[in-house]
Amino acid sequence: MIFHDEPTPGEMLPILEGHTSAGRLERVLRAGLFAVTSELSPPDSADPQEVYDRAQIFDGFVDGMNATDGSGANCHMSSVGMCALLTRIGYAPIMQISCRDRNRIAIQGDVLGGAAMGVTNMLCLTGDGVQAGDHPQAKAVFDLDCMSLLETIRGMRDKGEFLSGRRISTPPKVFLGAASNPFAPPHDFRPYRLAKKIAAGAQFIQTNYCFDVPRFKEFMARSRDLGLLEKVFILPGVGPMASAKTATWIRNNVPGIHIPDTVITRLAGAKDQKREGQKLCVELIQQLSEIEGVSGIHVMAYRQEEAVADIIKCSGVLQGRTPWYPGRDQQRLQESYKT
C-alpha cells in the first residue's frame, strides 16, 4: 500500500480520523495490515552516519524502528538523539523511554522534544535494573514505572497537561506502546497486567522474544477472554539466535528471556547453527502471524541486523508490501520511467 501523502522530512502527515498520531505505524496497523518493527541498536559513537547506516539495513522491510533507551542498562547514544537524526530524514522511529535513568521532569521534557522533532510513536518501559549493565555503580532513578509513564504521556496528549496539571499549548500527538512478557511468572497474572497497561494508555504492545508458541497462544487466549484483543495491537517479539551457545547464554544472563530446551537442542543439532537460527525465526514468524489477535511482528536481531530483510522476505508476512523508507518513491518513479 502506498500512502500518497508520504512525508516530507520535518513535516507531519495529517492525523487521520480516529487516529491519535500522524505516524505510519498507526496507519498500517489501523488499516489492518501486518506490521513489522525492528530493534535499532544505538552506536557507541557520536557519528550520525553510524545511525543512518544501521537504519538503512532495514529499508523496505519495517514500518518502525525502536530507538532503544540504554537497553540492558548499557550506555549508548540516547534514544532522543537517535530519533532526532532519524526523523530528520523522514524515518518513523519508535522512541523508547525507560524510567531507569530519568525522573518525571526529564521524561516529560523529552516527550515534548521528541514529538516536536516528529516522533509519532513512543514505547514506555520500566527498564532493566542498573546491575544488568556496564555501569552497576549508577544511581537508579525509577521515579515512575511503565504504567504511570503511560498514564503521564496519555495525560499530556489527551488532556494537554503535565503531571502537575500545568497546560501544554500543543500536546504531543503520539501513538503509545508498551512491552509485555507473557513468559515470565506469575503467568496467570500476565493477561491482567496487559489489561492494566491498556487501561493506562497502551495502544500497541511489543513482547519479549517469543520461542514458546504454546505459552504465547495461551496468553492470547486469556487476553481474548478479557476482551483485550480489540483494544490493542500486539506484536510478538522474535529474533534469530546465532548458536545454541548464544541462546543458552542469553537464557541464563538476560532477565526475562525464556527459551525452551527444544529450541536449544534443535540449534545444537544443526550443521550451520546460524542458518538454523534464522530458519527457526522465519517459522516462528509464520506461526505467530496465524494466531488470533497478532497484528504484526517485532524483530530483535542483535548483531544479525543484516539478516532481517531475508527473514522477513522468507516469512512472506509483508505480502508484497514495501514499507516506506527515505527514497522509496523516487526509486519507484525512476523504475517506472525505465520500463
Partner: protein
C-alpha cells in the same frame, strides 16, 4: 525483615481484616485527634507507624501506602520501585531479576491479593508516588481522606 514480610503475605487475609479495624478505629478517634491537632500527632504517629510497618512489611515510609492493593506486599521493596508490577524480568523460579536471592515482591503481591476480599484492587493502575509524602504517616493521611469523603457524602 524478609521472613516476617513473607509470612505476612501468606496471611494477607488476616492482615486485611486487622487493617480494616485499624482504619475504623482511627476514624472514630478523628474528633480527639483533631482536637490534639494532626500536625502535633504527625511525628509520634509516624515513628510508631515506622516501627510496626517496618517490622511487618519492611515498610519504606513512602507515605503513599498501597498495601491493600498489593496483596500486603510492600511494592517499595521492589528494587525498581514498581507500583504496578511485576516487571518482565521475573526469573523462572519467581525470584527477582535484580536481587536473585529475593522472591519477586510482585509474585508475593499477586499471591497475597488472591486471598484478600479486596484483592481486585491489584488491577487498578497506581499513579506515580508523591515523593513529598516520604516519611509522613500514611495512616493519618488515610483517616483524613476517609473523614473528608464521609463529610462530602453526608452533605
Amino acid at each position: 525483615m524478609y521472613k516476617v514480610r513473607r509470612w505476612v503475605v501468606r496471611h494477607s487475609q488476616a492482615f486485611e481484616t486487622i487493617y480494616n479495624w485499624l482504619e475504623q478505629g482511627l476514624v472514630k478517634l478523628h474528633p480527639v485527634m483533631q482536637k490534639i491537632g494532626y500536625q502535633r500527632l504527625e511525628k509520634p504517629v509516624a515513628i510508631f507507624e515506622k516501627l510496626c510497618k517496618g517490622l511487618l512489611f519492611d515498610c519504606k515510609m513512602c507515605g503513599d501506602c498501597a498495601l491493600s492493593a498489593t496483596g500486603m506486599s510492600c511494592s517499595m521493596n521492589c528494587p525498581k520501585n514498581i507500583r504496578n508490577g511485576p516487571c518482565g524480568g521475573v526469573r523462572q523460579n519467581g525470584n527477582c531479576e535484580v536481587q536473585p536471592e529475593m522472591r519477586c515482591v510482585w509474585m508475593d503481591a499477586w499471591q497475597g491479593s488472591q486471598s484478600m476480599r479486596a484483592g481486585k484492587q491489584i488491577h487498578a493502575v497506581q499513579l506515580p508516588v508523591d515523593h513529598t509524602l516520604q516519611g509522613s504517616s500514611a495512616w493519618l493521611r488515610k483517616v483524613r481522606e476517609v473523614v473528608v469523603k464521609q463529610e462530602q457524602s453526608s452533605k
